[in-house]
Amino acid sequence: MATQSLRQPLRASKVNIHTRRIKSGIVSGLAVLATIIVIAPLVAILLYLLKQGVTSLNWDFFTKIPVPAGESGGGMENAIVGSGVVLALASLIGIPLGIGAGIYLAEYAGSTRMGNLVRFTADVLNGVPSIVMGIAIYALIVLPQKHFSAFAGGVVLGVMMVPTVTRTTEEMLRMVPHAIREAALGLGVPAWRSVLTITVRTASAGIVTGCMLAFARVAGETAPLLFTAFGNAFQSTSLNEPIAALPLQIFVYAVSPYDEWHRLAWAGALVLIVLIIASVALVRYVVSRGTLKGAS
């Protein structure tokens, strides 16, 4: 197969070199064009969002709770607080589990069959649609309790964070040079302490970025919250009651027929996207500074 494919261009030398060059030029041009066309919707979305969002963003948005349809004013204070509560719970569940699994993969499992199986399952879990996660948690928590709750919302987002945190933690730990581990063990440090205080600490910047990446990913999730956190028109911080969340509120307002609510949806989308892009950019900055590369 390989030898045959390599012989082709030589045989094709009967074809005029100019045609070949032109063909190459055309394809290169198409690739550039594709890149430009791909960047275009991104820029369009961001600019439009900025335009709509900035004009409708005001102080009330951050300090007031929603008003009934038809009245003007109101904000999303309850949704911002609600998102905070749900995401905090999700981080409490997802981050320790993910980091633990990542440590297992990097330090103990290596490339054993068990390790590969965990890796594979994590990747597959990562691809399970968020709405399916929502249904499973609904069946697990909401149905027996017979009411929607912030707790269920936190659990569903926490579960969704696990695979991302696991894989990034593992990758970051693998970058830590072996000499550092050997030095620690050679000085008589117990293995568990060497992992926690030497390896994990060396890779901590990378692990934190992995956690933020997972956080940013679930921060914008709407589908799994539809029937776990459910949404709430009023201020609530109780884990046992339905709670509002920023993406949920954006969805409800976006599909509503009121202009005032559309305005608020744009403002919410802007806030959400600024939060997410800021964390993603921070992640890239930390990674590109190469805190880990310096250690090798």
């Binding site: 060059r21 696990v162 000085l187 293995a191």
Partner: protein, 342 residues
């Protein structure tokens, strides 16, 4: 270079005082005792992280179990026929998932059709042609596309994309391609086509970043060899890169398909949500994920709930199979051990 030295000194010189190693009494005894103590601690720690790893299996099994046990009503009543029936009548407890499956498949394949050429173009540009200084900002921009939440895409699609399609693109499509039957009928904007376009934008970064990863892993020697035989740049890319990376690229595309199948919010906001099977892409449709999003929280009656959960189960199984295939294909290329994985 100062970094490692600092880490080494500060980290490794602190543990001994903490670890209580008075070397004076008997070196052998302290060594043995230290070993005994840490053996328990080490074992506990290992067991703890192992449990964390097992929790990933636990989650998958729990999801599967919940979905299966909660959908047994419709599983028992309709069997496999559930997926081939077109009825959707909650009042008379008559359910069939075919319109939703059709909508999911059509919108996802439409999305692939639109996004694959662009994604591959971007991947080729970024790995083979892009000047170095432009590479980082461009890849950051395409990754940003992946970071935008689904609901924001939906919001943008409702207010920008749909009017654009309805007023400018659809009339042209109806005029030029109306004879195919795929672009006919009332032009409402909320349609299968709108869902396909939004999905295409959303899965593009996934496909292109994975394709890029796969293409980067093709050894430089391949490119140099083909160029040395007198190939032009396109011939080099086609013979030296694409041919070697093709398995992984297929994997990337399948992974994009998996994402498109399960995508919920943006699709729900633009597809029109009507459980009908119409040949025209300009007509509204419904997908498995969006019927769940719309009807789940108001499902009354055990049968209705069971039908919806069975749709969720089907979605779960399909995406697991799709993702597993894709992962194996991508791993086969990037790990360099294709025979064993496959």
């Amino acid at each position: 270079m100062t970094q490692p030295a600092k880490i080494f000194v500060s980290e490794s010189s602190t543990p001994p005082p903490d670890a209580k190693q008075p070397v004076k009494p008997s070196v052998v005894r302290t060594f043995l005792r230290g070993r005994g103590n840490s053996a328990i601690a080490d074992g506990t720690f290992k067991a703890l992280v192992f449990l964390c790893a097992l929790s990933i299996f636990g989650i998958v099994i729990l999801i599967a179990w919940e979905l299966i046990s909660r959908s047994h009503l419709t599983l028992a009543k309709f069997g496999l026929g559930f997926f081939f029936r077109s009825a959707w009548d909650p009042v008379n407890n008559d359910f069939g998932a075919f319109p939703f499956i059709y909508g999911t498949l059509v919108s996802s394949f439409l999305a692939l059709l639109i996004s694959v050429p662009f994604a591959l173009g971007v991947a080729i540009f970024l790995t083979e042609m892009c000047p170095k200084w432009l590479r980082a900002p461009l890849s950051f921009l395409t990754e940003l596309l992946a970071a935008i939440p689904s609901v924001v895409y939906g919001l943008w699609a409702i207010f920008v994309l749909i009017p654009l399609l309805r007023d400018y693109v659809n009339p042209k499509l109806m005029f030029t391609l109306g004879w195919t039957g795929f672009f006919t009928g009332p032009n409402a904007g909320y349609s299968m086509l709108a869902a396909g376009v939004v999905l295409a934008i959303m899965i593009l970064p996934i496909i292109s970043s994975l394709a890029r990863e796969v293409m980067t892993s093709v050894p430089m020697v391949q490119r140099e060899g083909v160029l040395a035989l007198g190939a032009t740049r396109w011939e080099m890319i086609r013979i030296g890169v694409l041919r070697n990376a093709r398995i992984g690229i297929v994997g990337a595309i399948i992974l994009g398909l998996g994402r498109a199948l399960g995508e919920t919010m943006a699709v729900t906001m633009v597809i029109g949500n009507r459980p009908e099977i119409v040949k025209s892409f300009l007509a509204p449709g419904y997908t498995m994920a969006s019927v769940l999003a719309n009807e789940f929280s108001e499902a009354t009656g055990d049968m209705y709930l069971s039908a919806l959960i069975e749709i969720g189960l089907a979605l779960f199984l399909v995406t697991i199979v799709v993702n597993a295939c894709a992962r194996m294909l991508v791993w086969a290329v990037t790990r360099g051990a294709p025979a064993r994985v496959a």
